[in-house]
């Protein structure tokens, strides 16, 4: 079916200038995807061909060698093992940080007096680059999963805390008043107005937090660990094995893209009313 549409586009383009035809082709969704694929193929070809000729192979490796490396990791099961380590660090930390962040955001949002007292501390901790806490977590929790989970959780916590807080502040007072006038109890107002009302804010926090969760997990692994994709990258780099580094980065990109896409879909399904 897409074949016929492409044909139609090129047919109408015959009378027009070649530049215009190209434009039309690129604007078509199939054309856009084809163009993207072409860009990737050209880059890979350039990389593959240039590697060892005018690109230093030691540093930049080459797509085929990286592919072989990736395959060897899959074959000997090491990729699976390290991937599980990174995904659990990111996943557990994300869940922990998100839950406690939303809970704290609700508490601060609903109890202005607590918020006034806590605000300077929260601001100070939020401003702190969380990576600086990594060595601290290693000392207290060791080089295993726990220290990474902690680092991820702290990072995600503040993102969700602030998004939830903004959501509560942004809540339309008229809506809560209307519900209370109808006879809603406090908990009914919370269930029917507050929680659905802050959903857009929470989803946007969750979406942004995915990237930060992976970053924090990998950073933790780079700093001190014996497993995980970050460890894989770090140890490859230690052996001047650039193909290992690229293979690790590739895996991370794939993970991050997939999880962001999943969150985005959940968001779209839950917030259908916004469109």
């Amino acid at each position: 079916m897409s074949g016929t549409t492409t044909d139609e586009v090129s047919m109408t383009g015959e009378s027009a200038a070649p530049g215009e035809t190209l434009c039309k082709l690129l604007l078509h969704p199939a054309g856009t995807n084809a163009a993207r694929a072409l860009v990737v193929i050209m880059m890979l070809a350039f990389w593959e061909f240039g590697s060892g000729r005018f690109l230093p192979h030691v540093w930049l490796s080459s797509p085929s060698v990286i592919g072989v490396k990736l395959w060897s990791w899959i074959a000997d099961g090491s990729l699976g093992m390290h991937l599980v380590a990174t995904l659990s660090a990111a996943g557990f930390g994300y869940a922990l940080g998100a839950l406690s962040g939303v809970a704290s955001g609700l508490v601060l949002g609903l109890l202005p007096r607590v918020e006034r007292v806590a605000s300077p501390f929260v601001v100070a901790l939020y401003a702190l680059p969380k990576v600086a806490l990594a060595p601290f977590f290693v000392i207290f929790l060791g080089i295993g999963l726990e220290s990474k989970v902690a680092l991820v959780a702290v990072t995600v916590y503040f993102l969700l805390l602030y998004n939830t807080l903004d959501g509560v502040r942004d809540l339309d007072r008229d809506l809560t008043d209307a519900f209370r006038l109808m006879g809603a109890t406090r908990s009914e107002v919370a269930r029917h107005v507050l929680l659905p009302g802050i959903q857009p804010w929470i989803y946007s926090g969750l979406r942004i937090a995915v990237r930060y969760a992976f970053t924090a997990a990998v950073l933790g692994e780079l700093i001190a660990s014996n497993q995980g994709i970050g460890y894989l990258i770090e140890s490859s780099a230690g052996h001047y094995n650039s193909s290992g580094v690229f293979a690790g980065v590739f895996v991370l990109v794939v993970c991050s893209v997939i999880s962001t896409e999943l969150i985005t879909r959940a968001e779209r399904a839950a917030l259908r009313w916004q469109r």
Binding site: D174, L181, G183, T185, H192, Q274
Partner: protein
Amino acid sequence: MTSPVIELKNASKDFEQGGRAIPALAPTGLNVANHEFVALVGPSGCGKSTVLNMVAGLFPPSGGQVLYEGELVADLNRRVGYMTQKDTLLPWRTTAANIAAPLELACRAMPRSERDDRVARMIELVGLKGFENHYPGELSGGMRKRAALARMLVYDPDTLLMDEPFGALDAQLKLVMHEELQRIVGDGRKTVLFVTHDLGEAIALADRVVVFTSRPGRVKKVREIELERPRNVYRVRFETAFGDLHEELWNELKDEVRKGTDA
């Protein structure tokens, strides 16, 4: 004589703005008797919505008192149904779910089938059939008003506060809605405090019309509407008494409207 349901005793309201108190409503006295339909008219910004907000207990008066059934309105007044000027439909609920909301609360627990029945009847009543599954963002202004009206009527509160409920409707639909409202409240079963910009609407529906001065508003004129009940809200407009009342009240109102626009 029974005491009024709604009573304003020299109630006034100032709003803080940039550290200064700006008077929105001058000390105002107003009574609404049980099962009476009172319409408030007055220039924009004269404090009509402010009156309803205080009766609903959204905020206290700056001076004087607001009483409901003889008691000071201290907190949100849950014995009134309030259709606010700006609709307060939940954007994440469909029309049907919005109208069902008051029936989902614990204080009105009822079987699901009854809830669905009542919602369906309300949707029919306000002419939103076919739009049950639309979100408020997908409805026109007039449709949103009708959904808000249905949400208030569905739980059958004794007292209705209505702030320009039909403002966004076209003339024909307005007449249809007048008839429906009349049918619901007309046989003296509800107390209504009704704000409108439409003098004809006020006269056709109300037992009494209260004209406010321009800001800060106070009562300029209270007029009994002696048109007999039950009224035909459409045909009543062609009676001479209606024309006379319109003329009389418009004379009171027009100076205030002019003053309001000068300010």
